[in-house]
């Protein structure tokens, strides 16, 4: 399995590059919990996100991220509790396939 990080990396200090709208609401701080969106056409099951966000994600037998919350519809509705927002951001920035995105609350 290619490079799975062993532990959480330090938070990036500057704005992420490459995918401008990782901040929920396009730079506007979100009011409620954000959601994690997965581009399933891009994800190649490297599993970094599950390592960085073990509270919310695990991996299925093929290595693809799987929401832990029972009944979560993993395409759109992985709700990010406020206390995990920073970790979620790091997971988004760490995904080598740019397959993750934080969406504003509905």
């Amino acid at each position: 399995m290619p490079g799975i990080p062993q532990r959480r990396r330090a938070a990036p200090t500057d704005a992420p590059t490459g995918h401008p709208a990782t901040t929920a609401g396009g730079g506007v701080p979100a009011a409620g919990p954000a959601r994690l969106w997965i581009d399933w056409t891009a994800c190649d099951a490297r599993g970094w996100c599950a390592e960085l966000l073990p509270e919310l994600l695990t991996r299925d037998p093929d290595g693809y991220p799987l929401a832990l919350a029972p009944g979560a519809r993993a395409t759109r509705d992985i709700t990010i509790p406020a206390q995990l927002a920073g970790h979620a951001r790091r997971a988004v920035d760490a995904c080598p396939r740019l397959a993750l995105r934080l969406l504003p609350p509905r």
Binding site: G26, D39, W40, Y64, A72
Partner: protein
């Protein structure tokens, strides 16, 4: 909103007491059971003689006999679930779209009049909102919300009707001129309603496309249509309209590939951009970011036809049939073991027995029904013919009308084998893009095939026993749900879940080495 209309609605109007039977045209298929009770000859038996294990015998099972007003408009109080109009021997059908059939633009004009342009602003949106029209492509999403979202994306200050504006994430994009698309890809192999509608009433659909284009301020309109008679009909209609100067927004006809996924909305947009017709991962709705990044409205052709009717005859007319929560009619493709498979138009809330009766009823005892096509839901025969074709009526059974397909499985057939066949098809049709779907659907298909095998002689030496295969299928169905760029895996999972519920006794029988067919009490 009251508008004076020069042209009378085809049915259900006090001003036009024309029985639907006279308006129904050759193009509108009518079941042989129009003469009630005649059914397939000799199959109707009195209910007392029905054996217990055969709760839905062959033949026509009318539910609303005697409940209909004899002819003309039938308006009942709000307490009534179903208002059926003009039971002119059509057994509860209500011809609206199909009664607007017109061979050419001239006869369309004589029947329906000119396009009722509404001008810019939210006039039509308000009428559509009041009508309660929902999308007929499968998800039953309120049509006015989609129109409103596209209008708002294009004109952030004025477009949205009765909704709050949200700042589009991503900042300062210029939205561009909206695009409207009529979706007639009809990728579902069992469905025939879109093609039937286009062959019968292409001009009605195209009027709806024009009116939707006007409502959202679109600059281009497309018809994404599967090859065959439907495409020919649309091309002919568009040529006539061009010659007559009928349209305000240019319509372009594009042929859809004949795949299951070609009609998924983001695949439609991809195809119109010249890319393969495969779904796209899109975190912003197509209403904000569709064809070449422009606000894009994709509607099923039946939705657009209803829209064109509502624009002419108003929301109150539209609501005069159907139920209070699910007004209007819907087209339903009836397929499987019925006397005359084909398309019917019925009000929401029509009992399934009446619906099948319109196509001559079942020709064999019914084993199970499937609602919503390949990506639909199995219903055990115990639901009985009285269950209503509506979201409310089907919800207790975990089903919904979906894209309007009722498939009838004979009691002698094995529901597990049928499910295995369908899941194998769905697995083969995945667009090869999303890991959990690409890997999960074929595994799911193998497990369902394992359920469909009878333990014993035809079990492979290393094969799973049908009961083990069933629990693996349950796990895999949960694993693929919601984990793709489109809802294709969800549909396959839904079908498998419903098969596990409906055919539990068959799985036990298969595990014990015999097959019940689907006729059994469970």
């Amino acid at each position: 909103m009251t508008v004076e209309h020069a042209v009378s609605p085809p049915i259900a109007s006090a001003t036009a007491p024309v029985p639907p039977s006279r308006l129904a045209t050759a193009a509108a298929p009518r079941g042989p059971a129009s003469s009630v009770g005649a059914g397939p000859a000799g199959r109707e038996r009195p209910s007392r003689e029905r054996p217990d294990h055969e709760p839905w015998p062959a033949g026509v099972h009318r539910i609303r006999t005697g409940e209909h007003p004899p002819a003309g408009p039938g308006i009942t109080g709000p307490g009534h679930a179903v208002k059926t109009v003009g039971d002119g021997g059509d057994g509860g059908g209500a011809q609206r779209l199909l009664a607007a059939a017109a061979a050419d633009l001239g006869s369309h004009y004589r029947r329906c009049g000119p396009v009722p342009w509404r001008g810019p602003g939210g006039h039509l949106l308000a009428e559509i909102r009041d009508s309660g029209l929902t999308g007929r492509g499968g998800a039953a999403f309120p049509t006015w919300r989609k129109l409103s979202a596209v209008a708002a994306a294009a004109h952030p200050d004025t477009g949205r009707l009765g909704g709050r504006r949200r700042a589009a994430p991503g900042g300062t994009r210029r939205p561009g001129t909206p695009v409207v698309v009529a979706n007639a890809a009809e990728g579902e192999p069992e469905s025939a309603k879109d093609a039937t509608l286009l062959v019968a009433a292409a001009h009605l659909v195209l009027d709806g496309l024009q009116l939707a284009a006007e409502a959202v301020g679109a600059g281009e309109a497309y018809v994404h249509v599967k090859p065959g008679a439907a495409a020919q009909s649309v091309r002919r209609a568009v040529a006539e309209r061009r010659a007559a100067g009928w349209d305000r927004c240019q319509i372009e006809v594009r042929e859809a590939p004949a795949t299951f996924l070609a009609g998924e909305a983001s695949a439609v947009v991809a195809a119109l951009e010249g890319a393969p017709a495969r779904p796209r991962a899109h975190w912003r709705p197509l209403a904000d970011d569709g064809l070449h990044g422009r606000p894009t409205l994709v509607h099923n052709v039946e939705t657009l036809a209803h829209l064109a009717m509502i624009a002419r005859w108003g929301a109150a007319w539209f609501r005069s049939v159907g139920t209070a929560d699910e007004p209007g009619t819907l087209l339903v493709t009836v397929t499987g073991t019925v006397a005359a498979p084909g398309v019917v138009e019925v009000p929401y809330g029509t009992p399934l027995g009446d619906l099948l009766g319109l196509r001559g009823g079942a020709v064999e005892p019914v084993g199970a029904l499937r609602l919503g096509g390949y990506a639909g839901t199995w219903l055990p025969v115990e639901v009985g013919p009285q269950v209503a074709m509506s979201r409310a009526g089907l919800a207790p059974w975990g089903a919904e009308p979906g894209p309007g397909i009722v498939s009838v499985l004979p009691a002698g057939a094995c529901g597990l084998a049928e499910t295995a066949r369908i899941v194998a098809y769905l697995a083969a049709q995945n667009a090869g893009q999303c890991g959990p779907c690409v890997s999960g659907l074929p595994q799911l298909a193998r497990s369902v095939a394992g359920m469909a095998r009878v333990a014993g002689p035809d079990t492979a030496p290393d094969g799973e026993n049908p009961a083990q295969a069933a629990s693996r299928a349950l796990r895999l169905a949960a694993l693929v749900s919601g984990r793709g760029a489109c809802h294709h895996p969800d549909g396959a999972a839904r079908l498998v879940h419903s098969a596990l519920r409906t055919f539990a006794a068959d799985i036990r029988a298969h595990a014990q080495g015999h097959c019940l067919g689907s006729a059994h009490p469970s």
